[in-house]
């Protein structure tokens, strides 16, 4: 177990190092990062002064190592627009995004499990068909489109909920619905597929032969073993969740990291963008690491 843990930690560190390099060198794609960061009407002298102040005259490798060293101590530089430490800005917005993500995950995982189980009781039946149709629709429509349609009906036409904002429970409902829809479909399909898979096993036939009701068989015997594949694939959907949060926050004026990132890109505030990409990747890598560990703990067949 310790060796596995050590290996996985090392692997995660290498990945994050690579991510930091990509994020750093992206700025050099267009040639001069100083000209990139300054407004288009800045004078030659202003750009030169800025380049000097930022240290863009030094060899690129030195610059990268300097960036990396600072990043490791939590210093991601100053936001060009807000003139404040980037990390501060990101941490300020973190609770809003976390709240949205947790709300979306909570309702969608619950509903996904219920739908998945209902569908798997009788594959090919009417309930199964209906669940699959809903799941398909949930995965097919883009997040931002769903958000706009929900706003159109619930906020504009029926005036039941606000179009956007932050602070009260009613503000959370539409964004969480929007962000969780894709995920609900994903969980539904996974739970259904892995349950149907497990239902073919011998011990399920034994449980049935004992005369247990289908509900007891599924909840008491099958579901536990169907959980493992669901868990592993969930980590992969985390990236989709981040992308979804980006557009969801824009649509609902939700003051989270996604909105911060898009605004930073629109403002050409590159230190801020770099930090957001790097931090989002870190969260993603850590989530994957935890899922891998949970996978080992949950599955006694994997011996280390």
């Amino acid at each position: 177990m310790l060796r596995f843990l050590g290996n996985r930690l090392l692997q995660s560190a290498v990945v994050l190092l690579g991510v930091s390099a990509i994020v750093f060198f992206c700025l050099f794609l267009a040639g001069d990062p100083a000209a990139l960061m300054m407004s288009p009407d800045a004078s030659r002298a202003e750009i030169d002064a800025f380049r000097k102040a930022m240290g863009f005259d030094d060899p690129v490798l030195i610059q990268y190592l300097r960036y990396l060293g600072k990043a490791l101590t939590g210093d991601f530089g100053l936001s060009l627009r807000f003139q404040r430490p980037v990390l501060e800005l990101v941490l300020e917005r973190l609770p809003a995004t976390a709240l949205l993500a947790v709300a979306a995950l909570a309702w969608s995982t619950t509903l996904g499990f219920v739908f998945g189980v209902l569908a798997a009781i009788k594959p090919g039946g009417l309930v199964d068909f209906m669940v699959r149709t809903v799941a398909l629709a949930g995965q097919a429509v883009p997040v931002f489109w769903l958000g706009l349609v929900l706003i159109l009906f619930f906020a504009m036409k029926w005036r039941l909920l606000p179009t956007g904002g932050y602070g009260e429970a009613r503000h959370l409902i539409l964004p969480a619905l929007t962000l969780g829809a894709y995920y609900t479909s994903a969980v539904t399909r996974l739970v259904r597929a892995s349950l149907i898979d497990v239902m073919g096993e011998d011990y399920i036939r034994t449980a049935r032969a004992k005369g247990l009701s289908p509900g007891r068989v599924i909840i008491g015997h099958a579901l536990r073993n169907a959980l493992i594949p669901v868990l592993t694939v969930q980590a992969m959907y985390f990236a989709a969740l981040l992308g979804g949060a980006l557009v969801t926050e824009i649509i609902f004026a939700w003051p989270g990291i996604g909105r911060l990132a898009v605004q930073a890109i629109q403002n050409r505030d590159f230190p801020l963008v770099q930090a957001v990409v790097l931090l989002a990747s870190t969260v993603f890598v850590l989530a994957n690491l935890m899922v891998d560990i949970a996978y080992v703990l949950l599955n006694p067949r994997i011996r280390l």
Partner: protein, 280 residues
């Protein structure tokens, strides 16, 4: 193709997928020829007309936008451009990924380790943020969007290609070719590549929905191809400002995106059953 396999491909979803895709392709390819209105220049006396309105003898089945442009022709042009962008980007991804996967699987050793770490890195960066960052640096032209989407999507192709290469390289006929003195390049291109190409095509079909939604998201955020040139995403992004007065501007382009996503997913599922390949 045995009758049994043919039936399973032509199951209900196979047909739905095929019909959806053909309908959208006709809309994108033939549409602008048959429905020859100008997608860029509008008629300022015909703004925000709801679907089905006739303005001075011109029928607008899907209505008009804030500049009096016909929404149907804008959707046709937008679908054409968006579809073109994602298909070319997908092909670039598949090409890079297959090449690197072959290399990793056949060469092994350090080459393999380095390439697979690159795959991990690629898969750990939230795609959309990386894409937005690069487009912000390079500027939002059509070519840049294609290149960025193409270059950032190769990782899964590499992973699948490598796994298949590892299986195929141990087969007897590859061994035989090696014994006959075939060069490494010849073995890879002539004996291994043909055997891994089918899963890669299936994978491409299943990856297109992701690219379609990604391209649309970039357009929606206003960071992709710039208006007045229409794409499925920037149509919705523009229509968003007029949601209350002209909801059709948002609703119809979204339905086209959904049709494309469902179409490619069904087609991919059908292809998996047909070819019996594994794509994990």
């Amino acid at each position: 193709m045995t009758p049994e396999l043919r039936r399973s491909f032509a199951g209900i979803d196979g047909w739905v997928g095929a019909i959806l895709l053909i309908a959208v392709l006709l809309l994108a390819v033939l549409g602008p020829q048959l429905w020859a209105l100008d997608p860029i220049k509008g008629v300022l006396t015909a703004t925000f007309k709801p679907p089905g309105t006739i303005v001075s003898g011109q029928w607008h089945p899907l209505g008009t936008d804030q500049l009096g442009r016909d929404l149907l022709v804008r959707i046709m042009a937008g679908t054409q451009l968006s579809l073109g962008i994602v298909v070319i980007a997908g092909l670039i991804s598949a090409l890079i990924g297959t090449g690197l996967g072959l290399l990793a699987g056949y060469a092994g050793g350090w080459t393999d380790i380095v390439i697979m770490r690159l795959v991990d890195i690629q898969l750990s960066i939230p795609f959309i943020l990386l894409v937005l960052l690069v487009i912000a640096v390079l500027g939002p032209s059509i070519a840049n969007v294609v290149i960025v989407l193409g270059v950032t999507g190769w990782a899964i192709f590499a992973r699948v290609a490598r796994a298949r290469t590892l299986e195929v390289r141990e087969l007897d006929y590859v061994e035989a070719a090696r014994a006959l003195g075939a060069s490494r390049l010849r073995i890879v291109l002539r004996y291994i590549l043909p055997n891994i190409i089918t899963p890669q095509i299936v994978l491409l079909t299943l990856d297109l929905p992701r690219l379609i939604v990604l391209e649309a998201s970039i357009g929606f955020l206003g960071l992709g191809v710039q208006p007045p040139v229409p794409t499925l995403g920037n149509l919705i992004g523009e229509g968003r400002s007029y949601l209350l007065v002209a909801d059709w501007l948002v609703i119809y382009p979204g339905l086209v995106i959904a049709a494309l996503v469902i179409g490619f997913n069904f087609l991919g599922d059908g292809l998996i059953r047909l070819t019996q390949v594994r794509v994990d």
